[in-house]
Amino acid sequence: MSYCVNCGVELDSSSVECPLCHTPVINPSEILLQIKNPPFPKEKGSVETVKRKDLAILLSIVLISTGVTCALLNILVFNQSMWSLLIIGVCCCIWIFMIPVIIYTRLTIYASLLFDGLALGSYLFLITFVTQNDRWYFHLGIPIVLLLTIQTEIFTLLMRHIKISIITTSLYVFSNLAVLCVGLELIINHFLYGRLYIIWSAIVLTVCCIIIISLITILSQKRLRESIRRRMHF
């Protein structure tokens, strides 16, 4: 029978320290005694993930049947163009977007975002295939999809792995917004005029820079940061 020298409570015979103050238990008279069964088991439980098999099957069947019926309609009735490819592409995209939600829930968010980007890129390629015009695809479609995918991946990484507060979240949002606007204008101008320059996005960039510099200042000054948090909490 051991007692905590700080708290004065009796401790269970299996305790190696006081659970209240973490003072180690050193009882010379019981040092050679075999440790008794602990009051709680050691095995930790975990909840298995909910299987959404039925919903996944239903969604897959609905998308497959939509694609197949449209393809048949395209081949047998309205066969002037290959319009059914666009609908089949949409069905494939929806299926890929739904993978992390109902089909394979253990898929990491980064992999699913990558697949979403690839699906979007492939769908744009399908449009170029149907319309027989691929100039916009390589100079406009792919760069924009690439930019969006990279930005989303970085934003997710920052939100999940770096300490989050309202101020840091705002910092990420405004940084991403600035990069997105500048990137979009550069890509569009290069596609239209063959030159890399910015006009309207420069204004967005300037405003975002002011906000970003202010946020960094707030983040680096602890007193200022606490003051803002105190006044802005909800």
Binding site: C7, P19, P39, E48
Partner: protein, 438 residues
């Protein structure tokens, strides 16, 4: 034991409405949180899991509102009888009150564990409150002891597994008593919130304090208080001490959310939820309170609020919200969003800790020799903090703390105060050693 068992003719219904309290609990469901409580009975002999499983299979049909699954309607959720196999007894785990997804475990909202001499029942709060759950656990334990060859009579919370459930056991008793002429407004002010490091997912820190009822009673009497008032005051005192050691910008009132068993005031045999919350409060902004002053405050608060008039008014206020015609036609997903926002922003911030006292459990005389003690855990708190639950049997009083924060400051202040008052306390815990340095 090998004789073929005939299931009792329990009243069969195809579905049950959720009671007034139960409506809220499923809306708070998160990936890492379910409103699950745990009741444990510690026997004097090791548990035989196969016999226990048999006892559950035989006794659970007696409780039709516990052998159910939760389903979604367009406007409200409801309970549906569950005929799937289970629930099954499993070896106990170190992190009780794990989240309980509604679609797992064959859709049962009840779990059974065994460990050494202990049988534990975990139930989702939408099925019923602690009193209802305790009835289930005691009836199953009595059946388990009968299967071992002992004679146990049906009395009090041990129900006859062969009789048809009384309609009152299945009722939403709130609705029977929600008839006050006024609807008192809910007053609320943000309370102090315990600051601490949030534990990772699937961790629930438990600290049990085991003591003698007579010792606690003597100390409580010396303060001219009941056991509940005394332990409530000790918890408030511990929270005040914790707030004083925190570096907080603003001192806030310390409040305890305390469920009151309404069966004491409004006769009902319901096994579903029938509780109301009161909030004993100490406001340190008014000045420094001594422990004696805290006890006086708690004593008068309880005398003032725990009576049928106030409680009826509280029930009526809650029921009027649920029965409002506009609220009733709002689709469930919108209700879910609004309730969750209200709970997160208002209700959860309205208390610093939870404390429940199930009181002294009465068992049939022939069952008493087999039982050592009981444990009760309020489960995973919605926000990182600590909850306290008290239960007593014969001369053993157990105070069970369940917390989702790393620090054990509140528990330390609490038990040290009891020791200073001359109460002998034995501590048991599932906390892993060496994780925190004082």
């Amino acid at each position: 034991m090998n004789k073929k068992y005939i299931l009792p003719k329990a009243e069969k219904r195809s579905w049950y409405k959720l009671d007034l309290s139960a409506i809220v609990y499923p809306t708070l469901q998160r990936k890492d949180f379910s409103s699950v409580y745990r009741l444990s009975i510690v026997l004097k002999e090791s548990i035989q899991p196969d016999i226990l499983q048999l006892a559950i299979d035989q006794a659970l049909p007696r409780f039709p509102t516990y052998k159910v699954s939760l389903r979604k309607g367009l406007f409200w959720r409801y309970l549906e009888p569950n005929e799937k196999p289970g629930p099954f007894v499993t070896p106990d785990i170190s992190n009780p009150c794990m989240p309980m997804p509604f679609k797992l475990n064959n859709r049962y909202l009840i779990r059974f564990y065994y460990y050494q001499n202990r049988i534990s029942l975990e139930a989702h709060h939408c099925l019923g409150d602690g009193s209802g759950g305790m009835c289930v656990l005691l009836t199953i334990t009595a059946q388990y002891l009968r299967l071992l060859g002992h004679t146990i009579t049906n009395k009090g919370m041990v129900l006859d597994i062969h009789e048809t459930p009384h309609p009152e056991e299945l009722e939403d008793a709130y609705m029977r008593y929600a008839n006050s002429k006024v609807k008192p407004p809910r007053l609320g002010e943000k309370a102090y919130r315990v600051r601490g490091t949030k534990e990772p997912f699937y961790t629930l820190n438990i600290i049990d304090g085991i003591m003698s009822v007579s010792e606690v009673m003597t100390v409580a009497k010396s303060y001219k208080a009941t056991i509940t008032e005394y332990l409530n005051a000790v918890l408030l005192y511990s929270l005040l001490q914790k707030q004083a050691t925190d570096f907080s910008f603003k001192t806030r009132p310390v409040k305890i959310a305390m469920p009151v068993n309404l069966r004491r005031f409004f006769p009902s045999r319901t096994l579903r939820n029938f509780i109301s919350m009161i909030y004993p409060t100490i406001d340190p902004r008014l000045g420094e309170y001594t422990f004696e002053e805290i006890i006086i405050q708690v004593h008068h608060y309880m005398r003032y609020y725990i009576n049928d008039k106030f409680l009826r008014g509280d029930i009526t206020t809650n029921a009027s919200t649920q029965q409002h015609p506009i609220i009733r036609v709002v689709p469930l997903f919108i209700k879910d969003y609004i309730v969750k926002q209200f709970y997160t922003k208002v209700q959860d911030r309205n208390s610093s800790a939870g404390l429940t006292n199930m009181g002294a459990l009465q068992l049939p005389e022939d069952m008493k020799p087999f039982v050592e003690r009981f444990d009760i855990y309020m489960g995973q708190p919605f926000s990182p903090r600590t909850n306290c639950a008290i239960i007593s049997f014969e001369d053993v009083l157990t105070v069970n703390f369940a917390s989702s924060i790393v620090e054990s400051d509140v528990e330390r202040f609490f038990f040290r105060k009891l020791v200073r008052d001359g109460i002998h306390v034995k501590i048991e815990s599932n906390r892993e050693p060496g994780l925190e340095v004082e």
